[in-house]
Each structure stands twice: as C-alpha cells, then as structure tokens.
Symmetry: C2
C-alpha cells in the first residue's frame, strides 16, 4: 500500500528517503471493501486521503433520499472533504468506496507537521489545490453553459477511466440529471455516431 504511494509521490515531487519515511511514520493504511463507508455525512472528515487502489466517491443525501455525487477519486489521487477537514466541522458528504480499495490516511495535525518539516511538500499541495481550482471552474462553466449531451460527452472524454468503472446512474448524479435522461442521451449519442 505505502510502496505504491511512495512510487507515485517520487514521480511527482523530488523527496529524500528521510522525507518519505516521515510520511510513512504518520500514515495510516486502510483497506476498504466495496460499499464500505469511510466518512458518514455528519461526521468530521478527519483525514486527508490518498487512494492507492480502487475508487472512492463523495456524495450528499437529501431529506427525500436523492443523492448527488460531488467527486470521484480513483487510484493515485488525493481526496478529502476540504471544509470538514480544515475546520473539523461535520461533513455534508458521505465518502464511500465504490470498489475494494486501499487508502492511506493522515490526520490534520500530522499533515501540518509533515508540511512544515518537508521542503517542497507545501508547494506540492499548493499545486494540487491550484489544479483542483481549475477543474472546479471548468465544471461550473460546463454546468451553466453546456447541454446535457455535451456534459455527457465531456465526461467520457475527460474521465474515460471512471466512466468504465461506474454505473451510469452515478454519472447522471455527478452531472446533475436523472438516470433516465442520461440513458436516453447515451442511446441517441451512441447511435448518432
């Protein structure tokens, strides 16, 4: 579990073996079974998460039971509920494994310690936050300006990996339409080519 993380991180940021060791000491390895929930809505998301294997999602549940998926996080991505994690506030989201997964967790305190101790780690996370911002802005622009078909097409192009691993109704939830609508759009789209 940690070796995969180490391999990945060394590709991203040049870190010494001592740096990596510090991160290992503070890390918590966890195996999740499919459908297992890591954070329940209402709980505090106490961890910053790195996914080494599998796939997680975060979603909200409304009073009427409807779910809305905020994010998918496959292997080799970082994940958390930033608002809950940063402020130790109850999360609005449920974080769930969609496949049998392996994750590494760090608490806020430990992560702060690591960021202060390891040169370059702050800059690495800053760059991730910047990229996340770009993605968020893009998704907003798509939400206000694209047709459902365009959103569907874009999702396939940008997230081909996730598309292949996730039921269609979850993509519908992520895009903000019903499963029936997306099913019909996909049919038209598939025929239309």
């Amino acid at each position: 579990m940690f070796p995969e993380f180490e391999t990945y991180l060394k590709e991203q940021e040049s870190l010494s073996n001592d740096d990596i060791d510090m991160m290992r000491v503070k890390s918590i390895e966890k195996t999740l079974r499919r459908k297992e929930i890591l954070v329940h809505q209402g709980e505090v998301c106490r961890y910053k998460i790195f996914v080494t294997k599998g796939l997680l999602r975060s979603y909200t549940t409304r009073e009427d039971g409807s779910e809305h998926i905020m994010h998918f996080s496959p292997e080799n991505t970082w994940f958390t509920d930033p608002e809950s994690f940063a402020n130790a506030a109850p999360s609005n989201y449920t974080i769930e494994a969609l496949e049998n997964s392996e994750v590494i967790l760090w608490t806020k305190n430990d992560l702060r310690y690591l960021v202060n101790s390891i040169p370059g780690l702050k800059a690495y996370f800053d760059a991730l936050i910047y990229k996340a911002g770009t993605t968020l802005r893009h998704r907003i622009h798509s939400a206000i300006s694209s047709t459902t078909e365009e959103k569907y097409e874009e999702f396939i192009k940008k997230h081909a990996d996730i598309y292949a691993r996730v039921p269609l109704h979850m993509i519908a939830s992520y895009l903000g339409v019903t499963r029936e609508t997306l099913s019909r759009i996909r049919r038209a789209y598939t025929i239309g080519k």
Copy 2:
C-alpha cells in the same frame, strides 16, 4: 484608490507600513468606465486585480453570441483569470466593468516578488484560494442539486449586494438559465411570499 486598498488590507492581514509601501510601488492604478473592458477574450490576463470601487464581471462568449457569466467581483475583492494569469495563456474570459470602477493591478512577476518579500502575504493569498475553493464547490453542488428557484433564492441571500446592482438577465446568465425563465421564477417567487 490605493488608500482604500491599504485600509482594507490592514483589516485582513497585519502588515507593516514598509510592506504596504512595497505593494504600492509595484501597483498600477486604473480607472474603468462602465462597460469598459479590462481583458478581452483571447488576450492574456496579465494582472491580479483588486477592486477598490465598482463592480467587474468575467464572462465567456460562444460562437452563437451567447454569454455565460463566471464571476462578479465587487469592491474589496480580488479578481483575475487564474488560468490565464498563472500560465500567461490566452483567456477564455472577457473581464468588463459593470459600473464605473477603480482597480489596482499587479503583474505576475511583481506579485511573486511581493509574496516572497512580505511575510504573511503568501498565507493571506493561500487563505483566499481556500475560501474560493469552498465557494466553487458550493456553486457546483447547487448547480447539480438545486432547482432554478432554489438557485435564485440562494443568489439573493448570498449576493444581495450584487443582486441590487446587476440586471436580472446577468443573474440568469450566472445561474445558467435564460432571462425569460428567471423572470417567470422571480414573479412566482415574489408572489409566493
């Protein structure tokens, strides 16, 4: 123009007079008339912008002429096109003054210099980026989970100041619906209370 900025910034972050002076030296003051454009779509957005007075917006224009508003920036807010500014890439957005406005500009190089020279400034911008991320995530969640009426209601509550200063069709554009739809929703909403 700069005095307003100085007043505001000192409320936000404790900075010495020397720090402020450094920022002043690098700053470019600019007055914008209503409808004046600061950055045209396709140009590089070379500046980080602080609005001391007035109101700016950023929007895209599609081939068919339709506009989609990404952001409103009233007085005492920071503004830029992050993608264009960071990468010196052509901007997808037009940045325009909606009122006669006063802005202060810094180039990327000067800003980098200032961030490296002034203790606390990096942390200040980091906090702004974090808050912006929260706002973006909230807007996405609203886009995929709320009805148009809920979005309208939320906009009024969160951006009462902007609501009062901007034509309805721009709010429609920001929310991702047509002006006619928003006009009808507003009528129903106003009567419904």
